[in-house]
Amino acid sequence: MFETLILMLDATMRVSTPLILAALAGLYSERAGIVDIGLEGKILGSAFAAAAGAAVFGSAWIGLCLGILASVSLAMIHGFACITHRGDHIVSGVAINTIVAGLTVTLSMYWFGMGGQTPALSGDARFLDITFPFADALQDVPVIGAIYSNLLSGHNILVYLAFAMVPLTYWVVYKTRFGLRLRAVGENPHAVDTAGISVAFIRYRALIVCGILCGLAGAYLSTAHNAGFLKDMSAGKGYMALAALIFGKWRPVPVLLACLLFGFLDAVAVRMQGVEIPGIGQVPVQAIEVLPYVLTVLLLAGFIGKAVGPKAIGRPYVKERA
């Protein structure tokens, strides 16, 4: 039983990683007042660029840089539309998701000609798992050994990075000047403007951070979690991250918990496949898969708590007084 739990938590960490990165990405964007349903597209774009880069240059790190570059570029398109041209945030997000869905397949066909995939990655072209010191030695210590050696040890660098991003984000958002301005611009951009700060500049910087984090999430998918890019491999993770962001009420630690919950549900779903539960029978996998979305809907409807987002979210900033 305990071993099963460790295995499931281990799976939870792996599945949660892209969610955490993408949800934190969304946190920077949405706290600055920019709705970002383009998380999905940025993850997919980065996954492709990272895998393609890693395949061509044989280095996961170069792939990662290219993934981040692709994702940040997409974030800048979003910014150009929403910040500079007062465009609708949702429409822009849909546009980016659609463009990326088409472009990744088109480009991978052109470059690799493998039906929309990139070549399989191996060796340095992938982020490999890191084994903690003494992990082997501690393996057999009861409880602690399993937690240390099997749960905490043995993930790739991006997993640890994702978890480290949570306290870092907390610190940035609540303890720094950038964070103060970021929060202010999502609540009342007029106040920020009259305080002599450029609303656009803060929002662009928030989107750059958002792009970087989505870039990490995408690279994780194609060069760490998997060994290459597959068509539509983001498979709704961006939307689920968005749900986690709302579920965590736009705050770093609750967002982390929401991501872990959703990741855990995914691990459960995999585990439960075909398993008979005494007295209940077989629980359909789909029923568990669908829980994150159902929970988010219930939360938004106020049936389980209340999610109040940043006040100025989604509204373009126009320099006019009402």
């Binding site: 202010a184 920020v192 009259t194 305080a195 002599g196």
Partner: protein
């Protein structure tokens, strides 16, 4: 000695509108300088130029005798200019401290700046008697204190020139008095103050000099000591002001509408309307006086059925309306209650609609405009044409988008729509807000005409002049409650002013603390 701030030939054009034209202004240091003008005279545009919100097309600004380039708010702040906006520029969910340091954090990390700000705020608070709890969340503070945060923000940035844009619009007279005491203290410390207002009383009471704007131009500069309300009023409007409306005495008849103990809570559970009772008779104009935001809007919304009441009841057209048996806005219209809302852009019109469509808003279900399934566009157009002619709406084009009419003509479209339905009761809010002077007279005449036809009119206005000129009876509201009622003949500005501050039968002391907060 150079002027604290001097404007030279400032002009600004928005599309076809010349908002400011060749504005010159000289403000000596350490004085309070009033800028007065009607709505739309260009005052706010001018101040926005000084504060770097807009850039002037031509002309330049000098501060302490040196020419400064102000392209954005940061430039203005650097030049020592601070501004208290009409709608406060505060982040509601932040603490006072966070609001004050925003944009002047003193480093990439908040820690050091916050500590320094605490000390500095304490000093400012002592020096100018601007006491405030720096850790309070702004949205939980009463309006008067929120304004204080705005002033502190400016002072914290070292402002030597402070612009206040209509600062008393949301304040009670007592809070306003306190504000002016603060401004005097600031002036004694050498701060130069620019006070934008359209209230003559404030200009006369607190300024050293006054400049008058009209239609985008600076038309006069006066020393306050050497001018009078009457002269300023004339300069503002450009012709002899007409503060009275020709009307006979009212002949009130039966009670048309009576409201008993109406109360209403907002979404946060705050009681916005407190046990309001009033009656309205046929053939009278009942004026509701009060400082903006003291429950008048809520009263209009509850009476017209837009928001349901939480307590109390309304007797109207033989029906009893209460929380258990509410009527919505459509049902109230069916009972022949018409409503000209306070804000025609937000509520009274759909500015994206063509005029003939906006002219049936609220009556769109009426048989006159509908066939069995489809709407009768021809009937709508014909009627719109007739009304545009009758009410002299210009241009008389029913297909023009509502947004493209001037304020006065938009208001005529709304009033015509409501009055032509031949209602028993007309609720009318701020009938002449943003309406040019010629149209004001016309609108006032129409209101009186409707009264003389034996209808009941409930008039809400924040313009005391308008209330006194039109009403037969006046009810005063304060903090959501009715605090007094008097015959229009007995009303004067002083009495009403005291009532509006709820100070007519209480000690002045202690009021300040309570204010409108509650």
């Amino acid at each position: 000695m150079p002027y604290a701030i001097e404007l030279r030939d400032i002009s600004k054009r928005f599309g076809a509108v010349q908002a400011n034209k060749d504005i010159c202004l000289q403000v000596p240091a350490g004085t309070i300088h009033g800028i007065i003008g009607e709505n739309g005279a260009g005052k706010s545009t001018l101040m926005s130029i000084i504060y770097g919100f807009y850039e002037a097309d031509t002309g330049h600004i000098e501060v302490d005798g040196k020419r400064v380039e102000i392209r954005n708010s940061q430039d203005a702040i650097t030049a020592g200019i601070g501004m208290v906006h009409q709608h406060f520029m505060l982040v509601d969910t932040f603490s006072v401290l966070e609001n004050v340091i925003l944009g002047a954090e003193g480093g990439a990390l908040l820690k050091g700046g916050v500590a320094a700000a605490r000390v500095e705020l304490q000093r400012l608070a002592n020096e100018y008697s601007l006491d405030i709890d720096v850790d309070a969340i702004v949205e939980e503070l009463p309006v008067g204190l929120q304004q204080r945060v705005e002033i502190l923000k400016a002072l914290y940035r070292g402002a030597r020139i402070l612009i206040l844009d209509e600062p008393t619009g949301v304040l009670t007279p007592q809070e306003a008095d306190h504000l002016f005491r603060i401004l005097k203290a600031l002036k004694d410390q050498g701060v130069t103050i620019l006070l934008i207002t359209h209230k003559l009383r404030e200009i006369m009471a607190s300024t050293d000099n006054v400049s008058v704007m009209r239609q985008g131009e600076m038309v006069a500069h006066r020393e306050t000591a050497h001018t009078s309300k009457e002269e300023l009023a004339e300069l503002m409007v450009g012709k002899k002001v007409r503060l009275t409306v020709d009307k006979d005495d009212a002949k009130p008849q039966d009670v048309l509408l009576s409201a008993q103990n109406l109360s209403q809570f907002d979404s946060q559970g705050v009681k916005r309307l407190k046990n309001v009772s009033l009656t309205l008779r046929a053939g009278e104009i009942l004026g509701i006086a009060g400082v903006s935001g003291n429950g008048q809007s809520e009263l209009l919304n509850v009476l017209s059925g837009i928001t349901p009441m939480d307590e109390g009841e309304i007797h109207f057209a033989g029906q009893v309306i209460n929380a258990k048996s509410p009527r919505d806005a459509a049902q109230m219209r069916d009972l022949k209650m018409a409503h000209v809302p306070e804000d025609r852009h937000k509520m009274g019109l759909v500015t994206g609609f063509e005029a003939y469509e906006a002219a049936v808003l609220g009556y769109h279900n009426s048989l006159a405009y509908n066939g069995k399934i489809l709407m009768n566009r021809k009937a709508m157009l014909d009627e719109c044409n007739e009304r545009m002619a009758a009410w002299d709406v210009r241009p008389p084009n029913p297909h023009l988008k509502t947004a493209n009419f001037s304020g006065g003509n938009q208001q005529k479209i709304v009033i015509a729509r409501e009055v032509e339905q031949n209602p028993e009761v007309l609720l009318i809010g701020q009938p002449t807000r943003g309406v040019d002077i010629g149209a004001i007279e016309n609108i006032h005449e129409q209101i009186v005409k409707l009264r003389d036809a034996g209808k009941g009119i409930l008039l809400v206005s924040v313009e005391l002049d308008e209330i006194m000129a039109l009403s037969d009876r006046i009810v005063v509201m304060f903090d959501g409650a009715v605090v007094g009622e008097l015959d229009a003949k007995d009303a004067d500005e002083r009495t009403l002013g005291l009532m509006m501050a709820n100070a007519h039968n209480k000690e002045q002391e202690g009021e300040e603390q309570e204010g409108v907060s509650a």
